[in-house]
Amino acid sequence: MNQTATLSWEQKDGVIELALHREPCNEIGSATLDDLEKFAIALDDLERDSHTLIIYSRQSAGFCAGADLRELYWRSQELEKGAAQRGVREFLERIHAVMNRIDASPLTTIAAVHGVTFGGGFELALVCDLIIAGKMARFCFPELRLGLVPGFGGIPRLKRDLGNAVVRDLLLTGRSWNATKAQQAGLVSQVVGEGEALRVARATATQLAKFDRRTAAAAKKFIKPIPHEELRREIDLFCDLFTQPAVEAGLKRFVENTTAQPYLP
């Protein structure tokens, strides 16, 4: 078992399990990014003896609530504007490198999700080949209410997998989908009972072990191209929007929000 501050991973019988365990709900800030980069480096060796990667959360609230907006806000307050913008771009370049690495892995990858799967957490699930969702999972891109768009590759990947109309629905309304709706749309492979997502992901991995690894990897590469050009443009769009005054105001509202409904878009 390899353990970092926000993640842990282990390999057993050809299955790599990556667990997210940062409180409260695996918000992705600089600490998680550092740890994801460590995992991405370790993946080079782990892949040699594996056929499946499962990503799941040990936090009861959900899979991942997205980017750490509090860190983003406070860091942007500490730095002068140009430095803050450069910092955001560097962060995005690094998280995209990790996401692209997992997306392009020759392993078959499974996101076993439950509860909140929002923003960057949704984007992390989208890099995986299969999403297995507990019936209480919810998927959402809430970024527009902050004056932003998803920045971890979510738009190009959701468009690749489901099409532009689905992106428009989720992005432009900011509404969240439950697991049943997500399955009807084709996003979720299987909807399972509460607390069952990881077990079903492991059972799926047992099935995947039956197939020739090189064939599975070649099939995946053929089926699932990485939309590099759109991913690059997404970073540019995010960085452009980040300079707008509405973003600072939106982040400030979120950070200072003490009402009961900040997660309701």
Binding site: T173, R175, N178, A260, Q261, Y263, L264
Partner: protein, 80 residues
Amino acid sequence: MENADQTLYQILDLAAAHFKVPRAKLTPDDDFFKTLGIDSLQALDLLTRLENHFHIELPDYELQGVTDFRTLAGRIQSRL
């Protein structure tokens, strides 16, 4: 199809059972955030349970500003 009162009482029953609050303590005009002692993430959990229970889709923005069970029941009833 449930009528409005049936919908309302099913919501109260479900909320009491899930959040372990005595059913007798819940009334239709209660502020459910206060009565159930829940935050926004738990409100999303309640929304998902209600969608699953009634087999409906209820966009969360329809719940913006909704705090009492009766109004919540009205929103759900409009989707049945």
